[in-house]
């Protein structure tokens, strides 16, 4: 237990396991989002379903928060140790041999993602009017379901939210960075967990990049469709 939190390898385990958990969440979240293309009824029913059990909702939220917390904690701690291990570089800062762009920028991409997560939560979860740049309280958007009961109108919130070009572009950049992060992270995770070998490594690396690309396309589909007017109120 002591080793898990104090050794470099233990912290890599924490980073990899929480990274894997977050990756799972990111996949599910994308699939959820894409239901907006099935129309207002589908996405609002889905959103209502997620909100319906406060107990499960909060278990999931706390779980995610703990994962993000541990992931960022290990990332920041290890990065500081790594910096201390190599305080002096080489003349003219050559790119380290064979190191991909994504692998060299993991901390930066990660921290920007963290900042984005905060914005995203304020925007669509807490529904702070000041950050949506629409001048409308998203918390007040409601509609009636088929039985006449009132529920949140997530469909309209998404469309109104993404109609603001700056907001959409920020989302797309953040998601791009997430996918850069994952294009390295998913395969790195297998090595950190000791699950890599000669035969599988090339496949893993390609799959990681493929998965990152699919996520990117899946996530930007919604703001792009709204901006192009394919998704309308």
């Amino acid at each position: 237990m002591n080793n898990l939190f104090h050794s470099t390898l233990g912290k890599k385990y924490i980073m990899a396991l929480t990274g894997a958990g977050l990756f799972g969440f990111v996949v599910m979240h994308m699939l959820g989002n894409l239901q907006v293309f099935l129309g207002q009824e589908a996405i609002n029913r889905y959103a209502h379903f997620l909100q319906s059990s406060k107990e499960l909702l909060w278990s999931a939220r706390i779980g995610l928060l703990v994962m993000v917390g541990l992931h960022v904690w290990s990332a920041v701690k290890l990065s500081a140790e790594n910096k201390a291990a190599r305080p002096v570089g080489y003349l003219n800062n050559p790119t380290p041999a064979a190191a991909s762009y994504a692998s060299r920028t993991m901390l930066m991409s990660g921290l920007i993602i963290a900042a984005f997560i905060v914005y995203h939560l304020l925007h669509f979860t807490v529904k702070v009017e000041a950050v949506n740049l629409v001048g409308l309280d998203f918390g007040k958007l409601h509609e009636q379901d088929l039985t006449g009961r009132l529920r949140a109108d997530v469909y309209r919130m998404i469309i109104l939210g993404f109609k603001v070009p700056v907001v959409s572009v920020f989302y797309m950049i953040a998601v791009g960075l997430l996918c850069l992060h994952l294009s390295h992270g998913i395969s790195a995770m297998f090595q950190s967990l000791g699950l890599r070998n000669k035969a599988w490594w090339p496949v893993l690396q390609q799959s990681a990049k493929g998965a990152a690309l699919v996520l990117f396309l899946g996530y930007i589909a919604v703001p792009v469709a709204v901006l192009l007017g394919l998704l309308k109120e």
Binding site: T8, N82, A85, R86, Y90, A97, S187, Q191, R196
Partner: protein, 252 residues
């Protein structure tokens, strides 16, 4: 026949561990392309000595790529960037007439500079002392081949055993991580039947020593593998991570 190459060398000079150090520029004239990199430095040093200047200090011993002594970062790449080649085995024909070559020591907190291009790599020795060994019975010599070793394991262990402890992996890594070196040692012994009794203890102790020496952690950039003169692969790091997890879960 032309009279060799004229090169400009930008070399890190540092009087001792406490001095600050800086780059100095030297002209290397009429360099024979068949010389090795270290022979070229020998010639430059002869010149410096004749002029009454301090020669450039660098490490070397075998000069045939097997001892792991030579250690310079050439044009930003440990050992100069030729595949599976130590600096002593690098030849001047790799360079062109008129080239400027930068020569720097390994850079890592765990490898303090002793002088110029010479660094103190005793941190590696302490990691080996922490667990890079197998215990054997003394007494009568055992029969050869008494312990059967599967061919596949033997091959992998031999691949890992090639590591000469040069430290280029640390020098190349942006985190100055020693994972490739440590994992080569852990794999080399852990893959063999003779290495089983100490397997868990070995990985835990060697990693603990690695951390204590102030090496960084692995972020899977692959720089170490790219510069390793003995082509030690990242698979070893994965194997070590696996062994470490098993040892940790066992609560050792």
């Amino acid at each position: 026949m032309e009279k060799g190459m004229n090169l400009t060398l930008i070399v890190w000079r540092q009087k001792d561990a406490k001095s600050k150090g800086s780059f100095a520029t030297y002209a290397a004239r009429a360099v024979n392309p068949d010389m090795s990199f270290l022979e070229m430095l020998d010639v430059v040093n002869d010149d410096l000595i004749q002029r009454g200047e301090e020669p450039i200090a660098f490490d070397s011993d075998c000069r045939e790529g097997i001892c792991g002594s030579c250690s310079c970062v050439i044009n930003g790449v440990p050992h100069g960037g030729q595949k599976a080649t130590t600096a002593c085995q690098l030849h001047m024909r790799m360079f062109k007439d008129g080239d400027t070559i930068t020569i720097e020591p390994w850079r890592a907190s765990a490898f303090p500079i002793v002088k110029d291009l010479v660094v103190d790599r005793s941190a590696f020795d302490r990691i080996i002392q922490a667990g890079g060994f197998v215990s054997v019975r003394t007494g009568g010599a055992p029969d050869g081949n008494a312990i059967l070793v599967p061919k596949e394991d033997c091959d992998l262990a031999m691949d890992a055993a090639q590591c000469i402890g040069c430290g280029a992996c640390v020098a190349a890594c942006k985190n100055a991580s020693a994972m490739l070196f440590v994992s080569a040692k852990v794999s080399h012994l852990g893959l063999l039947p003779q290495g089983q009794p100490e397997r868990d203890r070995r990985v835990l102790n060697m990693v603990a020593q690695m951390d204590a020496e102030g090496f960084g952690s692995c972020t899977v950039t692959g720089s170490c593998e790219a510069v390793c003169p003995k082509e030690i692969t990242l698979d070893n790091i994965s194997r070590m991570n696996g062994d470490y997890a098993v040892a940790m879960v066992k609560g050792k």
